[in-house]
Symmetry: C2
Amino acid sequence: MSACVLYHFAFDPGSRTARLALGEAKKAFTETLVRPWEDDCPVAGLNPSGMPPVLRVTEDSRSLTLCEPAAILGWLEDASREPFLMPTDPAERAETRRLVAWFDRRFTDEVNAVLLHERMEKPLLRLGPPEARALRAGREALRSHLAMLEDVLAGRDALSGRRISQADFVAAAHLSVLDYFGEVSWANWPAVKTWYMKLKSRPCFRPLLADRFPGVPPSTWYADLDF
Amino acid sequence: MSACVLYHFAFDPGSRTARLALGEAKKAFTETLVRPWEDDCPVAGLNPSGMPPVLRVTEDSRSLTLCEPAAILGWLEDASREPFLMPTDPAERAETRRLVAWFDRRFTDEVNAVLLHERMEKPLLRLGPPEARALRAGREALRSHLAMLEDVLAGRDALSGRRISQADFVAAAHLSVLDYFGEVSWANWPAVKTWYMKLKSRPCFRPLLADRFPGVPPSTWYADLDF
């Protein structure tokens, strides 16, 4: 019997990836909510990067510390008897890995580092109001990423092929944070919208839809399964 | 029988990771050297990010396009009958994944984006001479990463545990580019130096040591196995 504790920040896309994957795997876990920018954040003593998510797994008397989404996703895959969120087809495996890397780097650098900085980090760290020019640049970048996803999803049910993979949960975790802040104009991207609606209806998504950011209510459609 | 073509740029850390892993796996491959910043770079038609490395594998009449280091490392692991560059122990697997993510993000953002920009991208793109303040910041960041590696390697033979893993090749690929430009002060980091000497002596490293950057000779110890 194993016990899992997830250290996470509710609006961190990496933390959301971990919550979705744990939920999808039906792994029970307890939560420790952390604020990684604070000096006494417990994650600092667990992950050298100081960042959530971190999953502590205690099995019998041994414990395992899984730092970063890749380690958590990898551990869930390793622990599963059947393929879980990694496809079996070599081309789909390659596409899953490409897309996960895309969100880790390109999406994070071009969209999150701008839009989430303006909409989320500035109020959290009291850095003043958002800047119009940065918001415009971030929204423009988000549009080009959504156009890329729309192209990919025009010919596939899931991002890397026929079945849901790590790529879908990583992408949905990122988009769900932006969606909270009303930054995703779903009507312009019908294939992305259909794909996201299906993911959002899965039980693993439910806890994320109940998250609330202090002082900012979610977009009216954020928790609506039929938006 | 399969044929592999690697599209790579010799001084890109991700491309070097792919070359090291392919060499270590003793996979024969032909090389197409690319310049990703040029308009007609063939990688633009293969990888949506436009970036090397890309590995094209043709097997019988089917072909597979592997974009980004993660897809190439993953494919090599999948294709291997025995564990190749992923440890079998769960804690070592988690540590490998944590460290690969560390280099992909932290090292890339804090060190490469500054030091390789000043030393490598500026001459390639004719952006003028390096700036002293940026060089100082990049070198300070590199020192803190080397101190982290020194701590890790004080108690282990390889970065994620007892055996060489993906983490060692990813880390060595990054450091080898900086070492070409004389940016690594090995004498200050004895455990890192011993670890790097062992990696550098492996046959897979040899092609990298023969690389030459136009107009910049390598540091005098770059290709020296007993530096």
